[in-house]
Structure formats: structure tokens, C-alpha cells
């Protein structure tokens, strides 16, 4: 079975992002970039399935700028993915709907039976691409996975939801998005990094795939979260209720 793993290039989790002077986005020049941590978890899960003999080929798919081939090579390919596909777009953070449409075209070309994605990207926290893709493909989805079990032509996903754990069993082909507690991604070894440099990354563009990537949303303004203001202390419950009524909260 062939598996796709979605890998997004994001600002490294340890970096403190700064808003650009135009207030339209975040500064990415000279900033350290990495593979989205949830996507690394997805790669690790695919590798585990390959080690069990269930998945035969892992294709790491990135929709991002061409410089992303560095992260693809040193991340998923060095961890053990077989090859990569880089769909080149000029800017960093693409709209989830457009990314899902690109994946839809690639799936039609490559026919993977399992698509693993990180549950969300740490830059936009959207948590949408997997779900939108499932809708476009009319495939079942198991999102926020903390456990993945494969059976003959089926995948069972234990999902972390607000009220606890929910288990779903789906027929393949299916979409799975991976959550934090699913696994601990392995470190790439130096030998595997050297091997990864020889693996192929097929490069294409949304245009080549027949996807109109013109943005449908325009970011008007981006601001830092407002500084938390000091609160006040009240002596009695009546005072508290009075204040809440005064501010129109209740």
C-alpha cells in the first residue's frame, strides 16, 4: 500500500515570530524553518506501518516554497520516507482549501490508500486541511488520532476529542490526521541524512496540476494579542455580580 504524508514547512516552534511592518503577516526571512511537528508525528506513524509491512511506499508531500526541499530532505526523507513531492508555491502559508485541492489532484495521480496529515499546522492552527480533503475525496476521516491500528482494508483510529476518546473504524482509502500523543518521532541518523540526499523530490506547481491557486482570502491585518490588562478584586459575590452586569457580561 502507498501512503501519502503531508509535510508543511513552518517557522520553527522555538522561534518567537514577529509581525511584519505592514501588519499583513509574519516575518519569515532569515527565520529558522522546520517541518510542522504534527507532520513529523504523521511521518513516524507511516514509518511504523512500513516497518510492520503494511505500507510499502511512503511519499512525503509538501506544498510550499522551493527552499522547502531542504526540510523535506533532512526531515521526512531522512527519517525514512521513500520519496518526496514538492508542489511549489511562492508564499509560505497557503490556504487549507487550496492545499486540499492540490492533494486531491496528487491522489488522483498516485492512488495512495492512506493519507496521513498532522492535525494542524503550528503557524495558522487551522486544523482544516485533512477534513476538507476528506470532503473533496468523499473519503472517511479519523482526525486528532492518538492511536492508529490497521486491519485488512480498514483503519481504526482512536481520536482525542474534548469529552475523551472516540474510536472510529474506516474502510480504506481514508484520511488520518495525527495528534501529539500518537507517537514520538525518531531522530534522523547521519547515515540516513546522507541517503536522503540521493532520494528523489519530484517538483511541480499547482498550475501543472490544474489547480487555481489564486488566494480567495486576503489578510487585512495581523496584530499581536493585546496585552493583558490588570483585573480588580471584589469583596463579595454581590459585588462580582454587580460588575458582571455593569460590563454587560450577564
Amino acid at each position: 500500500m502507498k501512503a501519502f504524508v503531508g509535510c508543511k514547512r513552518v517557522i520553527d516552534y522555538a522561534v518567537k515570530p514577529r509581525i511584519n511592518p505592514e501588519k499583513t503577516g509574519v516575518v519569515t526571512q532569515n527565520v529558522k524553518m522546520s517541518i510542522n511537528p504534527f507532520d513529523e508525528i504523521a511521518v513516524e506513524e507511516a514509518l511504523k506501518l512500513k516497518e510492520k509491512g503494511i505500507v510499502k511506499e511512503i511519499v512525503a508531500v509538501m506544498v510550499g516554497p522551493s527552499a522547502g526541499s531542504l526540510q523535506l530532505t533532512n526531515g521526512p526523507l531522512a527519517m525514512g520516507a521513500d520519496r518526496g513531492i514538492l508542489v511549489e508555491i511562492p508564499e509560505e502559508d497557503a490556504n487549507p482549501l487550496l492545499v486540499a485541492k492540490v492533494f486531491q489532484k496528487l491522489i488522483a495521480k498516485e492512488n495512495p490508500e492512506l493519507v496521513l496529515l498532522g492535525k494542524q499546522a503550528i503557524d495558522n492552527d487551522a486544523n482544516q486541511t485533512g477534513q476538507i480533503l476528506a470532503g473533496l475525496m468523499q473519503w472517511p476521516q479519523g482526525t486528532c488520532a492518538s492511536k492508529v491500528e490497521m486491519a485488512e482494508k480498514q483503519v481504526t483510529v482512536t481520536r482525542e476529542i474534548d469529552s475523551g476518546l472516540r474510536t472510529v473504524t474506516m474502510d480504506l482509502p481514508a484520511i488520518v490526521t495525527c495528534d501529539l500523543r500518537l507517537n514520538t518521532p525518531r531522530f534522523a541518523t547521519l547515515q540516513n541524512i546522507m541517503k536522503a540526499r540521493k532520494k528523489t523530490i519530484e517538483k511541480t506547481t499547482p498550475k501543472d496540476l490544474g489547480v487555481d491557486f489564486a488566494p480567495k482570502l486576503k489578510v487585512l491585518q495581523l496584530d499581536e494579542p493585546s496585552v493583558r490588562k490588570a483585573g480588580i478584586k471584589v469583596a463579595t459575590v454581590e459585588d462580582l455580580v454587580g460588575h458582571l452586569k455593569k460590563t454587560g457580561t450577564i
Binding site: D12, K32, S34, L70, N74, F187, A188, T189, L190, Q191, N192, I193, M194, R197
Partner: protein, 429 residues
């Protein structure tokens, strides 16, 4: 003209003559259109990715165990196996021999990043790569590399046995003897001291004298696997710093070494030792650089959190001046270390630069780690903060692989030679 001014004129002339003979370091620096010169801090994307990987591995897999390893004076077996699994123990070894197939500069990056977390773990990796692996790759036969380089890259720690109780700086006064037998093998007798990695080593590269009548030109390099009858690892030193790195005596009692386990020609041991230690110096510089960086990284955030007199102490000008000094010293040590590494990778002479960067980086490590404890105040003096360990660890940098005094002497001699002032050149009149 008086005798004195004539002597000065003569001196100036021979100085110029000698200078013109050598390619001094200045001539390497000019840019041409065909060869744009890069900044010393211009690392490739792959080198930066390697650095991030090692930093992350060190922080997650080694960081939590540093204090315990130091207290127990014991390298954690999982940390050691982690170094092997990651390919950190055979960085330059070719992939055909199960190594990582990378460059010397890559090895320096790994050593530096490991040292930022634990200089003791860093030296384990440094000795393996810059001393043991290098000797085999530069001097070993094809068969020796096939067998031993592979093991060293995959699962076997190596030790470099040169020093003895009676010979440290005066290394070639070593007394361990190798007696030739009729079948070409040698019998080794003697004892080595201060041997790094010996507690974990499975392979020992031993310098012993095979022909005392030739003085230091009889010194030969022997490869002795652990378990060879007569080889015994003695007591572990109870050290001030880098405690997790084992430093033990190694005793040789009628140890038989077959002739195919001699590395390099008989009598070339002194040459092997000198050339290997030259390269090893850059590794130690990287360890000391990482140490200074680690101490600084642990201190800087704290001084901006700790408030006294209503402000973070890092905003006081006196502290700011100290921060600037530390950052500048680390930058200088970094440039010297990586320049030496690049020179080696470019197969250009690097002996002087290697001695300089080791000397300088070890001095910076002491200065920075000491100052960091001052800046942290009381908490810096406790084991709960990493600063005191960096301070204890720094001292060895000025001692092993050539003491600071030896480095200064080496540098001075090279300056003499560069300027035609050494006795060999001046005697030409």
C-alpha cells in the same frame, strides 16, 4: 654605519628573504572573480540542519541525564548507544564502512553542539572521531579499516593510549615497550595513564616503543582489542570535571599483538601521534566553544528574569558590558575554530591555527563559565543550575591534548619558522 645598525640591516634583510620563501597566511585571503570568499560563519544549509538535529538530540536525549552522569561519574549506556545510532561515532568514516560519510567540519559541528549540553559526552565523540577514527583512516591498511573502522562507527568505543605516569607533555619519553617476536608479532609491556574512553573502549590504539635504541623513532602504533590477554583497564580517575567521560589507567602485561595489528609503519608512531593530535586540537576547541556557549545560553535568559532594585539585572550596564565581552569572546573562538576546520577540509596547512584555536577556546571557556556563575549569583553556585558543571568541566581544556604552555610553545616555534628565525633557517648564512 655602526655595528649595531648593520646588524639590524642584516636582520631585516634575512627576515624579508625568509618571509618571501613561505606562503604566509595572508596570501590566502584575496578574493578573485572565480573564487568569491565567504564569511567564516557562512555555513551551508545542510550544515545548519545538522546543527539543529544534534542540538535537538542533545537537549532531549542527553540533557535529562547530565546531572546524574556527572554525580555518578558514569556515562549512561543509553546515551552511548544513542551516539552510535545517530551516526555520531563514525562521522567521517565512509558509508561503505557503515559510517556517516561526512566532513571534518561536520564532526566539529557535532562536537560543539554536544558540548553545549554536556562537554563530557562531547569528548567521548571527539576522541572517537578526531583521534581514533582518523588514525585508522589516515594510516590503517584496507583490511584494518574494513574490520575496525566499521566496528568503531557502529558499536565499539575506541581509546588513544599515549600518555603515561611519567610522560605527559614529554610524550615521547614513554616507556611502554614492544618486543619483537620471531613470528613478527610484538609483546607489549607497560602502563598508560589518563586514557579517555578507556572505561567503555573495545579497541585501544597504543603507542609503544618497538626499538628503544632509536629513541622516539622507535615508537609504533599498535591496535589492541579489549579482551586480549594481559590488557587490563585499571582504576577510573575521580575527576573535577567531565566526570561522565571515563579516564583510566590501561595496563599491558605481556600483551601479544599480531603484526597485522600494527597501524602505519614500525617507528612512525611519533609522527602519527603528532599529526593526529594536531587535528584533535580543533575538536577540543569545538568542545570548549560549545561549553562556553552552553554556559552563556543558560545564563542570559536568567539575568533578564531575575529582578533586583526593580529591574531585571541584565539591564544594568555593568552586566551588559559583561554580556558583550562574553559574546565577543565566543564569537572570536567560533571563528578561529571553524576557520581551522575549513582549512583542514580544504587540505591546507592548519597546524598553527589548530594550536591557536584550542588554546584560545579553552581560555574563553574558563573565562566565560566563571563569569556566568558570577552573573547568576547564588543559584549559579548550586548544582541545580548547569553553570557550576560547565566551570568544573572547562579546566581540562587547558590540559589535555597539549597543555596551554605546550600550545604556546608550538605556536611560537611556528612563528619562528614562518619568519625564518628558527635555527634551521638562520644557519644558512
Amino acid at each position: 654605519t655602526t655595528g649595531r645598525s648593520m646588524a639590524f640591516a642584516n636582520f631585516q634583510r634575512s627576515f624579508q628573504l625568509a618571509k618571501n620563501h613561505k606562503t604566509s597566511s595572508f596570501s590566502r585571503g584575496y578574493a578573485t572573480e572565480a573564487k568569491p570568499m565567504r564569511a567564516l560563519t557562512d555555513f551551508s544549509d545542510e550544515e545548519n540542519e545538522l546543527r539543529s538535529l544534534v542540538a535537538k538530540f542533545a537537549k532531549e536525549k542527553i540533557g535529562p541525564k547530565v546531572r546524574e552522569m556527572d554525580e555518578k561519574s558514569q556515562l549512561d549506556p543509553e546515551v552511548l548507544s544513542g551516539l552510535f545510532e545517530q551516526g555520531f561515532m563514525g562521522i567521517e568514516t565512509p558509508t561503505e564502512l557503515d559510517g556517516s560519510g561526512m566532513s571534518f567540519t561536520d564532526a566539529i559541528i557535532v562536537i560543539e553542539e554536544l558540548a553545549k549540553v554536556d562537554p563530557a559526552v562531547s569528548v567521548v565523540c571527539d576522541v572517537q572521531n578526531t583521534l581514533v577514527n582518523n588514525i585508522l583512516s589516515n594510516w590503517g591498511t584496507k583490511e584494518q579499516r574494513e574490520k575496525y573502522s566499521r566496528q568503531l562507527a557502529q558499536n565499539t568505543v575506541g581509546s588513544f593510549c599515549l600518555s603515561e605516569w611519567g610522560s605527559g607533555s614529554d610524550a615521547f619519553a614513554l616507556k611502554t615497550k614492544a618486543d619483537l617476536q620471531s613470528d613478527g608479532s610484538y609483546i607489549l609491556n607497560g602502563s598508560k595513564a589518563w586514557i579517555t574512553n578507556s572505561g567503555e573502549a573495545g579497541i585501544f590504539l597504543v603507542m609503544a616503543n618497538a626499538d628503544v635504541s632509536k629513541g622516539y623513532k622507535g615508537i609504533t602504533t599498535f591496535l589492541v582489542p579489549k579482551g586480549t590477554p594481559g590488557l587490563q583497564v585499571g582504576k577510573k580517575e575521580d575527576k573535577l570535571g567531565i566526570r561522565a567521560s571515563s579516564t583510566c589507567e590501561v595496563l599491558f602485561n605481556d600483551v601479544r599483538v599480531p603484526k597485522d595489528q600494527i597501524v602505519g609503519p614500525v617507528g612512525s608512531g611519533y609522527k602519527i601521534a603528532i599529526e593526529t593530535l594536531n587535528e584533535g586540537r580543533i575538536g577540543i576547541a569545538a568542545q570548549m566553544l560549545g561549553l562556553a556557549g552552553g554556559a552563556f545560553e543558560a545564563t542570559l535568559p536568567y539575568i533578564y528574569q531575575r529582578k533586583q532594585f526593580g529591574k531585571p539585572i541584565g539591564t544594568f550596564q555593568g552586566m551588559q558590558f559583561q554580556v558583550a565581552q562574553i559574546a565577543m569572546d565566543i564569537e572570536a573562538a567560533k571563528l578561529m575554530t571553524y576557520n581551522a576546520a575549513r582549512l583542514k577540509d580544504a587540505k591546507q596547512p592548519f597546524t598553527k591555527e589548530a594550536a591557536m584555536c584550542k588554546l584560545f577556546a579553552s581560555q574563553v571557556a574558563e573565562k566565560v563559565s566563571s563569569l556566568c556563575i558570577n552573573m547568576l549569583g547564588g543559584v549559579g553556585f548550586t548544582k541545580d543550575f548547569p553553570a557550576e558543571k560547565f566551570f568544573r568541566d572547562c579546566k581540562i581544556g587547558q590540559i589535555y591534548e597539549g597543555t596551554s604552555n605546550i600550545q604556546m610553545q608550538t605556536i611560537a616555534k611556528l612563528i619562528e619558522r614562518e619568519n625564518g628565525l628558527d635555527t634551521k633557517t638562520t644557519q644558512h648564512k
